[in-house]
């Protein structure tokens, strides 16, 4: 198979297991984001793919060849570090040319390639500047260009945008995705920022305590989370307990709701309902009854915090699609059954 394949990859540090039996296939040319809270093992997994750490179990294959024990410098990859790790003693051009110089590429070919890459990152004419004279965004681009100089088989980025301010980060996300699509290079990004993952990735891999919880396209991760961790980690959600009453019916917050896709044999569980799928109506008529506890008007959207059956429920609505409610008022809550994801508790 062309692309990267992780088979049962495990990494133990003493008695602590940082990465547990990870299986993952990354087809050639796809963009994968490893997403998870800090300490979930995503960076360790990337370091093993890069060869900077060796797995204690399992195998890593690149285009069919086993590279588990191949030293880093023979893997033909490009990596962007969180600290960027630009060489302070070299100029922009020398930094980008480093991998070519190490491989003994002829001087004129190095210059040609460096100019090509500088044009790609919109920094033409910067070749002779010291890296210390660049802005954060420019340094970021240089690190990317340096990693891509040899046209690597695999492009790895470890929290690449975390040092940038919010606005620049959003712009770089789009730029990075467009660059990846243009080059068609297999790319893996480690991030803890779900917006970043949703913007860039073909496949989002959500990890927690060293394990993959779900690997799927971004929309599926958001719409169909595999478990309560994923549902809670990605975006805002309401996790509501339910007790099945048979044939798609369940008691939710003291009210009977119909049309839920409850698998057979599941007595009780948790519903994950995104706040935008929580609709406010008039009380009664089979709706769940709730009381408004707080309203956050953000201009573009309005978040309504409700209390129902002793639990907090959050609804997000567009300003023109929401009945005018105020704190203390009793309202009806309707959950779209198709938008409710049934999960084991």
């Amino acid at each position: 198979m062309s692309g990267l394949a992780l088979q049962n990859v495990t990494k133990e540090f003493g008695s602590f297991t940082a990465v547990k039996n990870v299986d993952l296939a990354v087809p050639h040319g796809t963009f994968v984001c490893l997403l998870g809270p800090s300490g979930c093992g995503k960076t360790t997994l990337m370091r093993m793919i890069a060869g900077l750490d060796l797995p204690t179990g399992g195998a890593i294959r690149l285009d069919g060849a086993d590279i588990t024990r191949v030293p880093t410098h023979k893997r033909d990859l490009g990596m962007v570090f969180q600290s960027l790790a630009l060489f302070p003693h070299l100029t922009v051009g020398e930094n980008i040319a480093y991998s070519l110089r190490i491989r003994g590429v002829a001087k004129e070919d190095q210059v040609k390639r460096v100019n090509e890459l500088l044009a790609m990152i919109h920094l033409s004419g910067y070749a002779d500047r010291p890296v210390s004279k660049l802005s954060g965004g420019q340094r970021q681009r240089v690190a990317i260009a340096r990693a891509l100089a040899i046209s690597p088989k695999l492009f790895l980025l470890d929290e690449p945008l975390s040092a940038l301010d919010a606005k620049l980060r959003e712009a770089m996300q789009v730029e990075l995705r467009q660059l990846q699509q243009r080059l068609g290079i297999t790319t893996i990004v480690v991030t803890h920022d779900q917006r970043e993952a949703m913007t860039m990735a073909d496949t989002v891999v959500v990890m927690n305590s060293g394990e993959i919880r779900q690997a799927a396209p971004p929309v599926e991760i958001y719409r169909r989370p595999a478990d309560t961790f994923v549902a809670d980690f990605i975006g805002m959600t309401n996790l509501i307990d339910f007790a099945a009453e048979g044939a798609g019916r369940a008691s939710v917050l003291g009210t009977s709701v119909e049309g839920l896709a409850i698998p057979e044999g599941l007595g009780q569980g948790v519903l994950s309902v995104r706040p935008e799928d929580v609709h406010l109506t008039a009380p009664g008529h089979g709706a769940i009854t709730g009381k408004v506890t707080f309203v956050r008007d953000l201009g573009g959207t309005i978040e309504t915090f409700l209390e129902a059956g002793g639990k907090q429920v959050v609804a997000v609505s567009m300003p023109n699609a929401r009945p005018d409610v105020s704190v203390g008022q009793e309202v009806g809550i309707r959950l779209s059954p198709d938008a409710c994801v049934v999960l084991k508790s």
Partner: protein, 284 residues
């Protein structure tokens, strides 16, 4: 915290103590030495006040030129040996587990507590024919019979490197610890073997530190006068040995002072040249 520029005279108060110490223990003795270097030697007593260049003129001979040349050569050799050994060693040490680092640093610091005399005599025993390391080589069949390794240039160099190495490591250590470990990792992902990344990233990134360390060890080694006497032949004696000889045994203070002043000037000149070359190399 905002730092304000000193306004009143009293604001300079904290500087008085160090300034006074510097004056009493450095400026005055050094000025005295410069003054004495122009005095005339009095064979009956000590010296008499004068202003003559005889002492400097006497210095300008082939003999003293050779001694000065050897002193500089020895100091440079010690500095280069120390840096060659200490850079890879300290690099590996800075990447080792914390406990290993502490053990090594404590061991190195304890070497600093040894006096030059002890170091000298310890090495002279180790290099002797009767009880030296060559006996060890004989017993493991490396040599056929024990030989004396001192007095010799190698013995002087070894002992001086031994003495200066802890300083070298301690000067390099902070810079190497601060060096971002992802720099070498980045070099490896870009295709450099660990050895190549050491030479293309670690060494160039530490250029200024290494130059500063070379200068420090060079100056340190230039002042050595005991080890060359204990472990070397007369031709291995440094200018510092001659200065001691003139000052203490020949009672020729003015000449000793002139040599000392000259040594300081040459040292400053060399250091200035190194710094200038370093600047130029950086600009290029």
């Amino acid at each position: 915290m905002r730092r304000e520029a000193p306004q009143k005279f009293a604001d300079y108060g904290p500087l008085f103590f160090p300034a006074a110490m510097l004056t009493v223990f450095f400026v005055i003795p050094f000025a005295t030495m410069i003054a004495v270097s122009f005095f005339k030697r009095d064979p009956a007593g000590f010296y008499s006040t004068a202003f003559v260049f005889d002492n400097y003129a006497r210095f300008l001979s082939l003999f003293f030129g050779k001694v000065l040349g050897f002193s500089l050569f020895l100091a440079i050799a010690v500095a280069i040996c120390c840096v060659l050994i200490a850079v890879p060693f300290t690099y590996l040490l800075s990447r080792a587990p914390r406990r290993t680092q502490v053990v090594w640093l404590v061991a190195l610091l304890s070497v600093l507590s040894l006096s030059e005399v002890i170091i000298g005599f310890a090495w002279s025993t180790l290099f002797s024919r009767t009880a030296g390391i060559t006996n060890l080589f004989v017993s493991i069949g490396l040599m056929s019979e024990a030989v004396a390794l001192n007095p010799s240039f190698g013995a002087v160099l070894t002992a001086m490197v031994y003495q200066a190495l802890p300083y070298t490591v301690l000067v390099l250590y902070p810079a190497l610890v601060r060096l971002d470990p992802t720099l070498t990792e980045a070099a490896r992902t870009l295709g450099a073997s660990p050895l190549k990344s050491f030479f293309t990233v670690v060494i160039p990134a530490l250029r200024n530190t290494i130059v500063a360390t070379l200068i420090m060890v060079f100056i340190f080694a230039l002042g050595s006068y005991l080890l060359p006497q204990i472990l070397g032949r007369p031709q291995h004696w440094t200018l510092s040995v001659l200065i001691t000889d003139q000052a203490i045994y020949q009672s020729n203070m003015p000449f000793a002072a002139a040599m000392a002043v000259f040594l300081v000037l040459v040292t400053l000149g060399l250091v200035g040249l190194t710094v200038y070359a370093g600047r130029k190399g950086e600009a290029a």
